[in-house]
Amino acid sequence: METVFWEYALPCVCAFWACVGFTLMFNIHGLGKLIAGVGGALGWLVYLLGGQTIFAAFLAAAAIGVFAEVMSRVRRCPVTGYVLVALLPLVPGGGVYYAMRHGVAGETDAFLSTLLHTFGMAAALAVGAMLASSAFRAVFPRLRPPKQ
C-alpha cells in the first residue's frame, strides 16, 4: 500500500497540479482545468505503469489522446486544449537538458544517445496521440460532432 502511494498516487497528484498550473498560462477556465489535469495524471500513470520507456510514453500519449477525444465529445468543445496540456508533463525537457550537459562536457557518445532518446520520446508522444485520436475517430464516427 505504502509503495503504491509513493510510486504511483503521489506522482499522479503532482502531474495533476502541474497541468492545472499550465491551464493558467493557456487561459483555460472552469471544467476544462479539471479535465486537463486529470488527463495529465492519467498520462503519467500510464507512463509509470509502462516502465518509463519510450514505448510507455507512446502508450501514455495514446491514453491521453483517447481521453481527450472522449472529453471533447462530452463537452462539445475542440479537443486541442486538453491534449496540449495533458501531454506537457511527458515532453522530454530532461532529455534536452542532459543532452546539453553531455554536449558541454564533450562526451560525444552520451550526448548523441541522449539526443536520440529525446527525439524518440518526442516522436513517440506525437505518434501515440495521433494514432489514438485517428483510431478513435475511425471507430466511433457517429460520435463525431459537426466538424468545425
Binding site: 475542440p78 486541442t80 515532453v91 530532461g94 537538458y97
Partner: protein
Amino acid sequence: MDYEKLLNMAAELGYQLMYSGAEIYRVEESARRLLHAYGLESPEVFAIPNCLIVSVATPAGQPVTRMRRVPLHGTDIELLERCNGLCRRLCAEVPPLDEAQALVNALPDAIPRYSPRMMLLGYGTAPAFFAPLFGGGLGDLACAFLCGLAVGLCLLYGGKFIGANSFFRTAVCSALAAFLSLALVEAGLGESVDVVTISTLMVLVPGVALTNAMREIMAGDTFSALSRTADAILVASAIALGAAAGQALGGLF
C-alpha cells in the same frame, strides 16, 4: 449581399482562431463553412502558421481576396473555444452581416483572462509540482517554485527588454532558470541542481509546438507541420544554449 463585408467578417473570425493557437485545418474549415453558410459556392481559404488568405468569387464572377498576417501569438484556449462556438452559431443561424461582424468583433474583449498574478501563480505551480515527478524533495519543490516565478516574471514583464523574438526570449529565460537554480541549490535550499533546472525548463519546453505539429501532420498540412517542427527544434536548442550559458555563468562565482 455585400461580399466585401462577408469576406472581412470571415477573415476576422479566421484571424481570431489563428491568434488563439488553433490548428490550420480548424481555421480553414471554419472560414470555409462560414462562407458556405452565407451562400458562396466555392470559397477558398488558405492558411499557414502566420498567414491567412481568404478568397471568394461572387456570383457575378468578381473575385475578392483578403489576406491577414498573423503576428506572433501564444495559446488561448478560451478564445479558441468561443470562436469555435460562435462559428457554429453563425453557420446555423446566418444572422445579417452587420450583426455577425459585431459578434466577431466583440469576441476578444469578452474573453475572461487570468490576472497577471494568477498567471504568475501558474508559472510557479507547474515547475513546483514537476520537481517531485523528476525525483526531487520538498526543498527542490520550493526552489522550482521560485525559479518558475522568476521565469514567469521575465516572460510577462520582460518583453520590453528581451524583445519578441522567441528564440532569444527562450534562451534568456532558460539561462535565468539555470543560473537561479544553481544559486538556490548552492545556498542550501534545494538538493539537486539537475532536478530544479529541469522542472523549471518544463515551462519553456516546446510542447505546444510539438503537439500542434503532430496535429497538422494528422490533418495533412505538411507545410505547416514542418514549420512548427522547425519551431520546436529551434526552441529546444534555445533552451539548451540558455541553460548552458546560465550554468557557465553560475560556475564563475
